[in-house]
Amino acid sequence: MSKRILAVDDSKTMRDMVSFTLKGAGFEVLEAHDGQHALTVLGDEKVNLVITDVNMPNMDGLSLVRAVRSHPVHRSTPVLVLTTEGDAAKKSEGREAGATGWIVKPFAPEKLLQVVQKVCV
Protein backbone atom coordinates (compact mmCIF):
# COMPACT_ATOMS: atom_id res chain seq x y z
CA MET A 1 0.00 0.00 0.00
CA SER A 2 1.53 3.29 -1.06
CA LYS A 3 1.83 6.16 1.36
CA ARG A 4 -0.36 9.18 0.84
CA ILE A 5 0.94 12.74 1.02
CA LEU A 6 -1.05 15.95 0.83
CA ALA A 7 0.83 18.80 -0.90
CA VAL A 8 -0.47 22.30 -0.15
CA ASP A 9 0.84 25.33 -2.04
CA ASP A 10 -0.79 28.27 -3.79
CA SER A 11 1.91 28.24 -6.43
CA LYS A 12 1.03 25.78 -9.11
CA THR A 13 4.65 25.41 -10.17
CA MET A 14 5.65 24.36 -6.68
CA ARG A 15 2.65 22.08 -6.26
CA ASP A 16 3.33 20.39 -9.57
CA MET A 17 6.99 19.91 -8.76
CA VAL A 18 6.39 18.50 -5.29
CA SER A 19 3.69 16.25 -6.60
CA PHE A 20 5.76 15.08 -9.53
CA THR A 21 8.78 14.29 -7.38
CA LEU A 22 6.75 12.37 -4.83
CA LYS A 23 4.74 10.43 -7.37
CA GLY A 24 7.99 9.46 -9.04
CA ALA A 25 9.09 7.95 -5.73
CA GLY A 26 5.91 5.92 -5.47
CA PHE A 27 3.84 8.11 -3.18
CA GLU A 28 0.20 8.82 -3.73
CA VAL A 29 -0.22 12.61 -3.77
CA LEU A 30 -3.24 14.76 -2.98
CA GLU A 31 -3.11 18.49 -3.71
CA ALA A 32 -4.63 21.61 -2.22
CA HIS A 33 -4.17 25.28 -3.03
CA ASP A 34 -4.55 26.77 0.43
CA GLY A 35 -5.07 25.81 4.06
CA GLN A 36 -8.83 25.77 3.91
CA HIS A 37 -8.83 23.70 0.78
CA ALA A 38 -6.35 21.34 2.44
CA LEU A 39 -8.74 20.66 5.32
CA THR A 40 -11.52 19.97 2.85
CA VAL A 41 -9.33 17.59 0.87
CA LEU A 42 -8.24 15.83 4.06
CA GLY A 43 -11.68 15.32 5.48
CA ASP A 44 -11.37 12.40 7.86
CA GLU A 45 -9.16 10.27 5.62
CA LYS A 46 -5.75 9.61 7.09
CA VAL A 47 -2.67 10.63 5.16
CA ASN A 48 0.92 9.81 5.98
CA LEU A 49 2.24 13.33 5.60
CA VAL A 50 1.19 16.89 4.87
CA ILE A 51 3.61 19.22 3.08
CA THR A 52 2.53 22.85 3.15
CA ASP A 53 3.70 26.23 1.95
CA VAL A 54 3.61 29.03 4.54
CA ASN A 55 2.32 32.06 2.67
CA MET A 56 -1.03 31.25 1.19
CA PRO A 57 -4.34 33.06 0.87
CA ASN A 58 -7.40 32.10 2.93
CA MET A 59 -5.60 29.95 5.47
CA ASP A 60 -1.85 30.15 5.71
CA GLY A 61 0.47 27.23 6.34
CA LEU A 62 0.96 27.85 10.04
CA SER A 63 -2.79 28.04 10.66
CA LEU A 64 -3.13 24.80 8.74
CA VAL A 65 -0.52 23.17 10.97
CA ARG A 66 -2.47 24.27 14.04
CA ALA A 67 -5.71 23.01 12.55
CA VAL A 68 -4.11 19.62 11.81
CA ARG A 69 -2.67 19.39 15.33
CA SER A 70 -6.08 19.96 16.89
CA HIS A 71 -7.90 17.65 14.48
CA PRO A 72 -9.18 14.42 16.07
CA VAL A 73 -8.08 12.27 13.14
CA HIS A 74 -5.00 14.10 11.88
CA ARG A 75 -3.39 15.36 15.04
CA SER A 76 -0.55 12.84 14.88
CA THR A 77 0.10 13.29 11.16
CA PRO A 78 3.56 14.67 10.39
CA VAL A 79 3.56 18.09 8.73
CA LEU A 80 6.44 19.58 6.76
CA VAL A 81 6.50 23.32 6.19
CA LEU A 82 7.95 24.73 2.99
CA THR A 83 9.88 27.85 3.91
CA THR A 84 11.09 30.27 1.30
CA GLU A 85 14.34 31.06 3.00
CA GLY A 86 16.53 29.29 5.49
CA ASP A 87 15.00 31.60 8.00
CA ALA A 88 15.30 30.67 11.65
CA ALA A 89 12.26 32.73 12.62
CA LYS A 90 9.99 30.91 10.19
CA LYS A 91 11.24 27.54 11.34
CA SER A 92 10.60 28.25 14.99
CA GLU A 93 7.18 29.68 14.19
CA GLY A 94 6.49 26.49 12.33
CA ARG A 95 7.62 24.40 15.27
CA GLU A 96 5.53 26.38 17.71
CA ALA A 97 2.53 25.78 15.50
CA GLY A 98 3.29 22.05 15.70
CA ALA A 99 5.11 21.34 12.45
CA THR A 100 7.26 18.24 12.32
CA GLY A 101 9.97 19.76 10.15
CA TRP A 102 10.66 22.02 7.22
CA ILE A 103 12.04 22.12 3.73
CA VAL A 104 13.79 25.18 2.42
CA LYS A 105 12.84 26.23 -1.09
CA PRO A 106 14.31 25.84 -3.60
CA PHE A 107 14.99 22.17 -3.12
CA ALA A 108 16.39 19.44 -5.29
CA PRO A 109 14.07 16.44 -5.72
CA GLU A 110 16.53 14.26 -3.79
CA LYS A 111 16.48 16.66 -0.88
CA LEU A 112 12.68 16.64 -0.80
CA LEU A 113 12.61 12.85 -0.79
CA GLN A 114 15.28 12.70 1.89
CA VAL A 115 13.29 14.96 4.19
CA VAL A 116 10.08 13.11 3.46
CA GLN A 117 11.76 9.82 4.45
CA LYS A 118 12.78 11.48 7.68
CA VAL A 119 9.23 12.18 8.82
CA CYS A 120 6.91 9.98 6.81
CA VAL A 121 6.01 6.95 8.89
Binding site: M1, V73, R75, S76, V121
Partner: protein, 110 residues
Amino acid sequence: METNEAAVSAADTPSGIQGHAVDLPSFLDLGYAGELKSALQEAMRPGGDLTINGAAVESITSPCIQVLLAAEKTLSGYGRSLNLIEAPPVLTSAFTDLGLNHIQGWSNTQ
Protein backbone atom coordinates in the same frame (compact mmCIF):
# COMPACT_ATOMS: atom_id res chain seq x y z
CA MET B 1 -14.17 -3.22 6.64
CA GLU B 2 -11.10 -3.87 8.63
CA THR B 3 -11.18 -2.52 12.16
CA ASN B 4 -8.13 -1.10 13.82
CA GLU B 5 -8.87 -2.54 17.23
CA ALA B 6 -7.04 -4.98 19.42
CA ALA B 7 -8.92 -8.21 20.01
CA VAL B 8 -8.60 -9.68 23.45
CA SER B 9 -9.32 -13.36 24.00
CA ALA B 10 -8.45 -16.22 26.28
CA ALA B 11 -5.60 -18.30 24.89
CA ASP B 12 -3.19 -20.97 25.79
CA THR B 13 0.19 -19.44 26.24
CA PRO B 14 3.29 -21.43 25.41
CA SER B 15 3.94 -21.81 29.11
CA GLY B 16 0.72 -23.69 29.43
CA ILE B 17 -0.74 -21.33 31.96
CA GLN B 18 -4.18 -20.03 31.10
CA GLY B 19 -3.59 -16.39 30.04
CA HIS B 20 -4.94 -13.81 27.69
CA ALA B 21 -4.09 -12.91 24.14
CA VAL B 22 -4.23 -9.57 22.41
CA ASP B 23 -4.36 -9.31 18.62
CA LEU B 24 -2.66 -6.11 17.52
CA PRO B 25 -4.37 -4.09 14.76
CA SER B 26 -2.72 -2.95 11.53
CA PHE B 27 -1.72 0.57 12.41
CA LEU B 28 -0.06 1.34 15.70
CA ASP B 29 0.50 5.07 15.56
CA LEU B 30 0.47 7.84 18.15
CA GLY B 31 -3.29 8.17 17.93
CA TYR B 32 -3.72 4.51 18.83
CA ALA B 33 -1.33 4.42 21.80
CA GLY B 34 -4.04 5.35 24.31
CA GLU B 35 -6.35 2.58 23.11
CA LEU B 36 -3.53 0.09 23.17
CA LYS B 37 -2.85 0.98 26.78
CA SER B 38 -6.48 0.34 27.73
CA ALA B 39 -6.60 -2.92 25.78
CA LEU B 40 -3.47 -4.21 27.50
CA GLN B 41 -4.70 -3.13 30.94
CA GLU B 42 -7.92 -4.99 30.28
CA ALA B 43 -6.11 -8.12 29.12
CA MET B 44 -3.76 -8.14 32.12
CA ARG B 45 -6.49 -7.90 34.70
CA PRO B 46 -7.37 -11.62 34.93
CA GLY B 47 -3.78 -12.61 35.76
CA GLY B 48 -1.45 -15.02 34.02
CA ASP B 49 0.85 -14.38 31.10
CA LEU B 50 -0.07 -12.21 28.19
CA THR B 51 0.25 -13.19 24.57
CA ILE B 52 0.39 -10.59 21.91
CA ASN B 53 -0.28 -11.52 18.32
CA GLY B 54 1.35 -9.12 15.85
CA ALA B 55 0.29 -10.86 12.65
CA ALA B 56 -1.82 -7.97 11.40
CA VAL B 57 0.67 -5.18 12.09
CA GLU B 58 1.54 -3.07 9.07
CA SER B 59 3.16 -0.15 10.83
CA ILE B 60 4.23 0.78 14.33
CA THR B 61 5.89 3.81 15.88
CA SER B 62 7.55 4.60 19.21
CA PRO B 63 4.48 5.55 21.29
CA CYS B 64 2.95 2.09 20.90
CA ILE B 65 6.32 0.42 21.33
CA GLN B 66 6.65 2.23 24.65
CA VAL B 67 3.23 1.03 25.78
CA LEU B 68 4.16 -2.56 24.92
CA LEU B 69 7.43 -2.15 26.84
CA ALA B 70 5.58 -0.70 29.82
CA ALA B 71 3.20 -3.66 29.80
CA GLU B 72 6.14 -6.07 29.75
CA LYS B 73 7.81 -4.20 32.59
CA THR B 74 4.64 -4.25 34.67
CA LEU B 75 4.03 -7.96 34.06
CA SER B 76 7.58 -8.98 34.86
CA GLY B 77 7.24 -7.02 38.09
CA TYR B 78 4.57 -9.54 39.06
CA GLY B 79 6.61 -12.44 37.82
CA ARG B 80 4.40 -12.83 34.78
CA SER B 81 5.51 -12.67 31.19
CA LEU B 82 4.58 -11.12 27.91
CA ASN B 83 4.97 -13.14 24.75
CA LEU B 84 4.93 -11.72 21.30
CA ILE B 85 3.90 -14.17 18.62
CA GLU B 86 3.69 -13.97 14.85
CA ALA B 87 5.65 -10.75 14.68
CA PRO B 88 5.95 -9.65 11.02
CA PRO B 89 9.22 -8.07 9.79
CA VAL B 90 7.85 -4.55 10.20
CA LEU B 91 7.47 -5.21 13.91
CA THR B 92 10.73 -7.01 14.55
CA SER B 93 12.75 -4.48 12.56
CA ALA B 94 11.24 -1.63 14.58
CA PHE B 95 12.45 -3.28 17.78
CA THR B 96 15.81 -4.17 16.30
CA ASP B 97 16.45 -0.71 14.92
CA LEU B 98 15.74 0.88 18.27
CA GLY B 99 18.16 -1.52 19.92
CA LEU B 100 15.35 -3.31 21.76
CA ASN B 101 15.92 -6.75 20.22
CA HIS B 102 17.69 -8.24 23.20
CA ILE B 103 15.26 -7.16 25.84
CA GLN B 104 14.14 -10.09 27.92
CA GLY B 105 10.85 -11.78 27.31
CA TRP B 106 10.61 -10.71 23.72
CA SER B 107 10.46 -12.25 20.36
CA ASN B 108 10.37 -15.84 21.52
CA THR B 109 8.97 -16.76 18.16
CA GLN B 110 12.06 -15.51 16.35
